[in-house]
């Protein structure tokens, strides 16, 4: 029996990545976001969700693409350390996520066409011929701005 264990994320600019099924908490369509000055180009906006203010991360901009205006936001949760309270953030998406089943046999190298995945991904798997990085959310949201 198949068991979906990952969300496939369309990050825009023909860029895809994945997170675990438990990490994606909520999808926001046409989100109201607010721009903050003096912030990095890849994380310029915040969104309010359940009385929290969350940073909105544009992964493709972090990989060198131009900043985008995404029609969807994925609210994600992660732990810095096992047992700690969860932290939250938002990822820009170009289209709604898709659930997929991934096994260890699909492990592969990170995509080589874009530099910087090694700082954002914890692993990578092959999905229908494409290398799909698995996002390291703690590293993405807890690293100070550059």
């Amino acid at each position: 029996m198949s068991r979906m264990n990952a969300w496939l994320l369309d990050l825009g600019a023909s860029c895809r990545a994945a997170v675990g099924t438990r990490e994606l908490l909520h999808l926001i369509d046409a989100p109201a976001t607010f721009e903050l000055p003096c912030t990095p180009a890849y994380c310029r906006h915040v969104v309010f969700w359940q009385e929290r203010m969350l940073p909105v991360m544009d992964i493709t901009a972090r990989l060198g693409e131009l900043p985008q205006h995404a029609p969807f936001l994925a609210i994600v949760g992660y732990q810095r350390r096992r047992g700690e309270y969860p932290q939250f953030g938002a990822l820009m998406l170009a289209s709604p996520p898709q659930q997929v089943e991934v096994s260890d046999e699909q492990a592969c190298r990170l995509p080589e066409e874009r530099q910087g995945w090694d700082k954002l991904a914890i692993s990578c798997f092959d999905y229908r011929g494409d290398a799909v990085p698995v996002l390291n959310l703690s590293r993405i949201f807890d690293a100070p701005a550059t």
Partner: protein
């Protein structure tokens, strides 16, 4: 001084109340402690002759003149002044004063509500923003006069 407005942001500061002033700079609402504002002047009172590097002129206060800066909504130093910048706010620093041009200023008798720290991923070393509050169906960025002056100084040094 209220901890909310002094730049020492902790969770314990949330929901405390203080008096603030919101400087409107185009789409940006910038919240400063009201006690850091010495005077509000018309932008037409700014003397544009022989400005310091990075400034747009001078404003007189306490028998001296102080540099006036014009900022973009991204808090970048501008050397040409948009027509909407009609007000000059004189901010008190640890040493001296600076003028900052803005579109208008709203005095808040009570700054209340949730204060949010800037998320780690958004914190650049040179940011003068140390928090965000909900304001007017949007947000206001919380700063203070000395951080803003340091941010302006860093930009001028780099240029």
């Amino acid at each position: 001084m209220s901890a909310v407005m002094s730049g020492r942001l902790t969770l314990a500061d949330q929901n405390q109340r203080a008096t603030g002033a919101v400087l409107k700079i185009d789409l940006l609402d910038l919240l400063i402690q009201q006690g850091e504002i010495r005077t509000l002047e018309s932008a037409s009172d700014v003397d544009g002759s022989d400005p310091e590097q990075g400034s747009v002129g001078w404003i007189s206060f306490a028998q001296q003149r102080w540099p006036v800066y014009c900022l973009s909504p991204q808090l970048e130093v501008l050397v040409s002044v948009p027509s909407a910048r009609r007000t000059c706010v004189l901010l008190a620093l640890e040493q001296g004063y600076i003028g900052v041009l803005c579109d208008d200023v709203t005095i808040l008798k009570q700054v209340s509500g949730q204060l949010y720290e800037l998320p780690v991923a958004m914190r650049r070393n040179d940011t003068p923003i140390h928090g965000v509050i909900s304001y007017n169906q949007g947000i206001a960025c919380v700063s203070d006069a000395n951080r803003l002056a340091a941010h302006i100084g860093q930009q001028i040094q780099r240029s």
